[in-house]
């Protein structure tokens, strides 16, 4: 069964790789992001699809100087983050390559060859120390239910992290079989919103 997230969880974790779920501000584990932003930790690599919006996304991490490297597919929706991007290492991956490299990382496949435009290239899989993801509901076993398109990157990111933290709206609740979209065996820690 998953543990509850304590408020100083990220107190002494410097230079870690984080996978953070969400797409354009939806399905973002905002409480976990704020917790990491408030911590004393620094020098992190953040892997996320996009920078979201000011209220919902990784903005607090950039603002508080926690990020040294950002791997993502898109930063265009959020003007607030622009000022911070010049100070960090920024790597763009096509969204499908990003998704696939997380999925292969979760399966411990080292990398893969793919065709992007007319070029073949090798893409390395992504592995992370921590996954921060968002789900709508969890039962006491950590089984997760996602709400609509809030699913986005959350399931694959949950699978690819060494330690996983899930932020949920409702916990603990009973989930019917068809509502158990991810098995709780992937979930180490739960934070109730």
């Amino acid at each position: 069964m998953p543990h509850e997230v304590v408020s100083d969880f990220f107190f002494d974790v410097d230079s870690c790789v984080f996978l953070i779920g969400g797409f354009g501000g939806t399905g973002v584990p905002m409480k976990l992001i704020e917790m990491l932003a408030r911590s004393k930790s620094k020098n992190h690599t953040i892997i996320t699809n996009d920078t979201g919006t000011k209220k919902s996304g990784i903005y607090p991490l950039l603002k508080n100087g926690k990020v040294s490297k950002l791997i993502c597919s898109f930063v265009g929706q959020n003007k607030e983050v622009e000022a911070y991007l010049s100070d960090i290492e920024l790597i763009f991956l096509p969204q499908g390559s990003l998704a696939e490299s997380i999925r292969t990382g979760a399966s411990k496949i080292k990398g893969f060859h793919e065709k992007i435009l007319d070029n073949y290239r090798h893409t390395e899989s992504i592995y992370a120390d921590y996954s921060l993801v968002k789900a709508a509901k969890a039962d006491i076993y950590g089984n997760l239910f996602y709400d609509g398109t809030d699913k986005n990157f959350n399931p694959i990111m949950l699978m690819a992290g060494k330690e996983t933290l899930v932020e949920v709206d409702k916990y603990p609740v009973k989930l019917k079989l068809h509502e158990r979209m991810m098995p709780g065996i992937y979930v180490d820690y739960i934070l109730k919103r």
Binding site: F23, G24, G25, T26, G27, N49, D50, C72, S73, F74, V75, G76, Q77, E82, L85, F92, P94, Q95, G96, S97, A99, E100, I102, R103, K115, I116, L117, D147, G148, T149, D150, K151, N152, F153, N154, P155, I156
Partner: protein, 174 residues
């Protein structure tokens, strides 16, 4: 940046949707392409969004969070479903989706497309390169002033556009 009127956007969207065969599947990008949804829905098409939707419809019914590529709340058509990002891009890359209607910053007469940056701003590619690489027919819906003889900003993909639709007309790129 100069804006385009809602009326012109609808004209473009209607024209682009009229190119799509009834009942076929289409990926829609963010911006003007999302305006095509209503017209494609009338033609019984399967609209795919990179947010995870297969079979979008313009009306939000039910309590689920369902958003399009421009973060607008929409709904699911009968038989529609929602999957995760890896699944959606596997589907887009499978070649089963034959059409894409996309926006861009600029498209030129050779079908070269600019979508990820200007000289002063950086957006990133999002899902565009996956769609350019694996979807057969790419229709670009842009204001006329963005359809240029030669790109003035960094190129994202060469010889990508098959059709360009603007408020003034419809151009096939050979």
């Amino acid at each position: 940046m100069l804006t385009i009127s809602l009326k012109d956007k609808i004209t473009i969207a209607k024209k682009a949707a009229s190119i799509i065969t009834e009942g076929s599947s289409v990926v829609l990008g963010a911006g003007i392409p999302t305006k095509c949804l209503k017209f494609l829905n009338d033609k019984d098409c399967w609209v795919i969004y990179e947010t995870g939707i297969i079979g979008a419809c313009p009306f939000s019914c039910g309590t689920e969070t369902i958003i399009d590529a421009s973060r607008k709340k929409i709904g699911l058509r009968e038989g529609g479903s929602i999957f995760d990002s890896a699944f959606i891009f596997s589907l887009i890359r499978s070649g089963r989706i034959k059409n894409a209607i996309l926006g861009a910053l600029e498209v030129d007469l050779s079908g070269n497309v600019a979508c990820h940056a200007t000289h002063t701003r950086l957006w990133g590619y999002g899902g565009s390169l996956d769609i350019y690489s694996y979807v057969e027919k790419k229709i670009f819906v842009i204001p006329q002033r963005r359809f240029v003889s030669k790109l003035s900003i960094p190129v994202s993909g060469k010889h990508i556009a098959d059709i360009v639709v603007t408020e003034n007309g419809y151009y096939e790129i050979k």
